[in-house]
């Protein structure tokens, strides 16, 4: 019965239904991760500063993100009188659209990816570069000086660091010979350590610094520097539109962490040397390793936020153009020479 459905004219519909179910699962799980990433952040930073973090709602404040979400949904939505209304209303949709569409190309474990495309890595770049529009449009349309300055800072920052980020992953592309993320993960199994992190440590460093800047996180959170710009580009947003920006920022962190895990940490696989030593570990599903590595990277974001002070704007630009880009270029040259020689 099912076989005939697969091969018959209903095969198309069946495939579409499977894809829709996959999308629903991925978006649902990702949004749940976003809500709890905020809780995790407040707890981690709280304990690093010898506080307790949220404690009131539920045991150890476990229901705090649910309460926050409900509050955001029911808050009044205010549009400034002098704002450019169509642009103001479209702006928050763009980052959440771009980040959610990025999820389509990420393989979470062996064989599970919504769209297994040949240019997976380039697609992720394209989507992450789009997210900048949400920020720039919000800054301009709000008709407020604080928003505007935040928007300008962010667009300059994102363009600069995108170059370094793209160049840092060229080394990975050279070593794996592919832009398909599943192939990149499989290519890492050729080493005993099972990850590009070791031959590409320089690229990993450049990528992580650029990822912090791309997602506007501390120490590069100048677009939303509270002490100077109140809240930066989303000063004028409230209610659900503000929530879109907030969700997109956390989703952006999750996606950047996923790219780091897929390209440098071997994705859903574990190092072959460990898998051979402890064969029992082969039974553990790949999603466990993948999520574990992603959670570590998200923890890294919070760790850095609790540790490092904010950069000055000229320092940020100098770091991007004079340190990261030359490092990434040097990495490409060295990697190509080694690949050519062997």
């Amino acid at each position: 019965m099912i076989d005939s459905a697969l091969t018959g004219s209903y095969g198309y519909l069946f495939n579409i239904a499977i894809i829709l179910v996959k999308i629903a699962v991925v978006v649902g799980v990702a949004m749940l991760h976003v809500t709890y990433a905020t809780y995790f952040e407040r707890k981690v930073i709280g304990h690093m500063q010898i506080r307790l973090g949220p404690m009131r709602v539920g045991p150890h404040g476990i229901l705090q993100p649910i309460a926050d979400m409900l509050k955001l949904f029911f808050k009044e939505d205010i549009v400034p009188a002098e704002a450019d209304k169509p642009v103001f209303k479209i702006a928050p949709v763009i980052p959440i659209f771009a980040t959610l569409s990025s999820l389509a190309a990420i393989p979470f474990f062996e064989g599970f990816v919504i769209a297994d495309i040949n240019i997976g890595l380039l697609y992720l770049f394209a989507m992450s570069s789009l997210a900048a529009y949400g920020v720039v449009m919000a800054g301009w349309a709000s008709n407020s000086k604080y928003s505007f300055l935040g928007g300008l800072r962010s667009s300059a920052q994102v363009i600069s660091y995108e170059v370094a980020m793209g160049l840092s992953l060229v080394g990975v592309m050279i070593l794996s010979g592919s832009l398909n993320l599943s192939d990149i993960v499989k290519a890492q199994q050729q080493y005993w350590h099972g990850m590009f992190l070791i031959p590409q440590f320089l690229a990993y460093f450049v990528f992580m610094v650029a990822a912090f800047a791309e997602t506007n996180r501390t120490p590069f959170d100048l677009p939303e520097a509270e002490s100077e710009l109140v809240a930066g580009y989303f000063v004028e947003y409230s209610g659900i539109r503000f929530a879109w920006y907030y969700a997109a920022e956390y989703l952006g962190m999750i996606i950047m962490s996923s790219i780091a895990v897929l390209c440098f940490w071997g994705g859903w696989t574990i190092p072959p040397v460990i898998a051979d030593a402890v064969p029992a570990l082969k039974v553990v599903p790949g999603i466990v390793w993948f999520l574990g590595k992603v959670y570590f990277h998200i923890f890294l974001y919070y760790w850095v936020r609790a540790t490092v002070p904010r950069y000055r704007y000229d320092q940020l630009m100098a770091l991007g153009w004079k340190v990261l880009i030359p490092l990434a270029l040097a990495n490409i040259v060295v990697t190509s020479i080694i690949k050519f020689m062997s």
Binding site: N118, I119, V158, E162
Partner: protein, 168 residues
């Protein structure tokens, strides 16, 4: 039938979007319509199995160049721009020039003969992936034009830096 429908959609919407770009009074709105236009161009590339070009179209044009456009336009004093005269006095000459170029294109279109098909059929590109195919051709057969293009870009970069660094 379906491919024709797809192409028809892209062709008509792209013309409409181009018109929207040049007729908006507010330059920021023009740039945003251009963003939508770039997405349609990328869609057209995908439709031609040119996935690498589609991705590069979004990354470079939408993600970098257009953001720079926005960056510059947002610095303008828009209040002045919005009240300024939209057409200069010589617009009839412009219209005449435009119509004559359109006529030229229209008549030359019917005389175009396509070249012989190369080794890259759709099946060949699908087997080899588009990125690999374009890389091979670009770095072997068209290496010289490719290097000339990169040299021109380099000159433009150097020129921009020289102009920006000139003080007073």
């Amino acid at each position: 039938m379906l491919p024709k429908l797809f192409f028809g959609y892209f062709a008509i919407v792209m013309i409409a979007l181009s018109l929207a770009v040049i007729t908006r009074r507010n330059p920021v709105h023009s740039v945003l319509w251009m963003l939508v236009l770039f997405f349609h161009i990328a869609g057209l590339y995908l439709f031609l199995n040119a996935e690498f070009l589609a991705a590069v179209q979004i990354i470079l044009y939408a993600g970098a160049i257009l953001v720079l456009f926005l960056f510059v336009i947002m610095m303008f004093n828009l209040k002045e721009e919005l009240t300024a005269e939209r057409f200069i006095g010589e617009w009839p000459i412009g219209v005449a020039l435009g119509i004559s170029i359109l006529m030229l294109m229209f008549f030359s279109m019917s005389k175009i003969t396509t070249g012989p098909p190369g080794q890259y059929t759709i099946e060949a590109i699908k087997a080899e992936t588009h990125t690999k195919a374009i890389g091979k051709v670009l770095y072997t057969e068209y290496l010289f034009p490719f290097e000339i293009a990169s040299l021109i870009l380099l000159i433009a970069i150097v020129g921009a830096i020289v102009l920006a660094k000139k003080r007073g």
